[in-house]
Subunit: 341 residues, 2 copies
DNA sequence: AATTAAAATGGTAACGATACCATTATCATA
DNA sequence: TATGATAATGGTATCGTTACCATTTTAATT
């Protein structure tokens, strides 16, 4: 009940006294809310540093209220929900804002999820694909003065905040990696075409292949929809081909499909990675669950979610207008599902 | 910034005025913190109801500080982290307590995770298997006056709070379900023996088989460790047997192993569920990812996490001493991986 | 130099709840 | 019935911030 005192250190008044100014000025520095002279800001900032001051969020919230940020979730069963929530709530509790989760499948119309959040009084909202690419959604948000942030969109709106990775570059990097392993005939399994990142990933693949002077024939392009089942189906057709004609590497637009392809390969006695290399995208939990573990492109979802909440909170509190777009770095994770050819 | 007013309705003073008492008395009713006459409580409770009063957590926190609750997580890559966090954070933000997550793998010694949390000043902690069954962990917590709650333990300590499902009954129900489908030779894949629920689940299986008068031969019991890989290995041995000798149903102690078994079956051209039924346990994301989707025992993780935080918060705020153990209801989820024999 | 505008800072109150202490009602017991 | 203990209630101060307004300083303009 009073463990706050164990950790609670300096208050704003301590800082003010230490710096020889009023608490108000310290508050202004902390919140970047009004003009403070350069000299004074320096002094206060070093006092904050010195005393290790951290604003008491509860007290602030008592005075100013809490920023409510809505999060629309497309798939509550997704394998990366954990990472996402982890990041979002870490930032949420650090910044003292309230997070409201709204699962998309709970509504007949996608826009209803957004309406629900608006009714609950959010002032900012995080939109994942595919709703982040819906013009209507952005318009609806704007009409209610709700700031909408596009999360992991393939082509984010320029005028509104966004957090994403460079899907194109990620797919391109993976393609180059596969090519570097000696693969020439590489198949690509496309994702749900209504998700913008699916398109960027495909483009990244195609451009990288072209850069390497490699042809991509039609029989090496498969249409999936990001689901395990679609991966299963693709794999079935794929491995039914004569071995000599088969691609030596398969790059799926997400891990779930890649995992399915591994499962089928495993069953049809096609050795992974000896006979065929398989790569995924996202690095969700399933990538390190399956065996052999998946080589994939890691999307730092936790960091991205954290950043998304940060950007929205900052925007809503008007502390800063600076960076509205954040492109997180992807990372190629080499595991056991890929090998030399 | 001031969207709180849009939703913020009655304050404690409004309630007090409405009920014709002082704010203090209302506070006492809300917090069950001291004696209030029956008559007055009734009156205040109906006033609360009437005005739709919800305590302002920020204001309360400003005055009393925030309860810090630590959560130790055994596997950050787990497929049910999402559900768990969802529940924990829902409760956390509803009750206004701070949640600190500490992943177990980040430490060389399991107890170090707990020590870290204690150092960060938590006053309560949620312990999953296997650490929830460690006497040392409970002793360490007690030494620092930290309340420890066992989460999903197979045999929770009686004197400390716990949230769990009846693993024994769940496994038993699934076994009876398989028997009801006509299966007589049923294999069981055991989980990591250091996790207490793994043991209860196995016992549930054995007892249910015995109840039905069915023998379980040694070649129908396999040792896994909850991992996908171990499921893969078991499946390999299992399906290598002659078809006439094979069990007609396989019950794995968790979904991950069951998913692996499905994958192998699929590959070896053993039709699921026509030739073999496969069942899992937990109902994590992977259960509805694989194809055919997994029949499994649903563990309401989200609800459980919510309850765990609730119990800890209540205990720490001493509002009530009542229920310290919560046994959540499991549910048998029939999907496509099981069928009649 | 005088005037005005703008920038920089400070003082005070209040956000909504609870801790703490003071007061009053109630009840048992001698 | 008086007495003291305990239960039931109320009053006030305060948690750490920030909103709001007042004041002072600085800069710009005529």
């Amino acid at each position: 009940m009073k463990q706050n005192h164990s950790k609670q250190g300096a208050t704003i008044h301590d800082v003010a006294q230490y710096a020889g100014v009023s608490a108000m000025t310290v508050s202004r520095v902390v919140n970047k809310s009004a003009s403070v002279s350069e000299k004074m800001r320096k002094k206060i900032e070093s006092a904050i540093e010195e005393l290790n001051y951290v604003p008491n969020l509860a007290a602030r919230a008592a005075r100013t209220g809490v920023n409510k940020i809505g999060i629309i979730f497309s798939n509550p069963k997704s394998h990366n929900l954990g990472d996402f929530l982890m990041g979002a709530f870490t930032a949420g509790s650090r910044l003292g804002c309230e997070l409201l989760i709204e699962p998309l499948p709970a509504h007949p119309e996608p826009l209803d999820a957004l309406k629900t959040l608006i009714n609950k009084g959010v002032s900012g909202v995080i939109l994942p694909p595919p709703i982040c690419d819906s013009l209507e959604a952005h318009q609806l948000a704007r009409k209610h003065s709700v700031t909408a942030l596009s999360f992991a969109s393939g082509n984010p709106k320029l005028h509104s905040p966004a957090v994403l990775i460079d899907d194109f570059a990620g797919a391109s990097a993976m393609t180059h990696y596969l090519i570097g392993l000696g693969h020439k005939k590489i198949a690509f399994v496309k994702g749900d075409p209504s998700h913008s990142p699916a398109i960027s990933r495909f483009e990244g693949f195609m451009v990288a292949m072209a850069e390497a002077g490699l042809d991509v024939e039609d029989d090496c392009i498969f249409q999936g929809d990001f689901s395990y089942k679609s991966g299963l189906d693709v794999a079935q057709t794929l491995f039914a081909q004569d071995k000599s004609q088969r691609p030596t590497a398969i790059f799926a637009a997400n891990d779930e499909m890649a995992a399915a392809i591994i499962a089928v390969a495993h069953g049809m006695d096609v050795k992974v990675p000896e006979e065929v290399s398989i790569a995924g995208f996202d690095d969700t939990a399933i990538a390190s669950t399956v065996w052999p573990q998946l080589t994939t492109v890691h999307q730092p979802l936790q960091q991205m979610a954290e950043k998304a909440v940060e950007i929205l909170d900052a925007t809503l509190r008007k502390t800063t207008q600076e960076q509205k777009h954040f492109v997180a770095p992807f990372k190629l994770v080499e595991r056991e599902s890929t090998g030399h050819f």
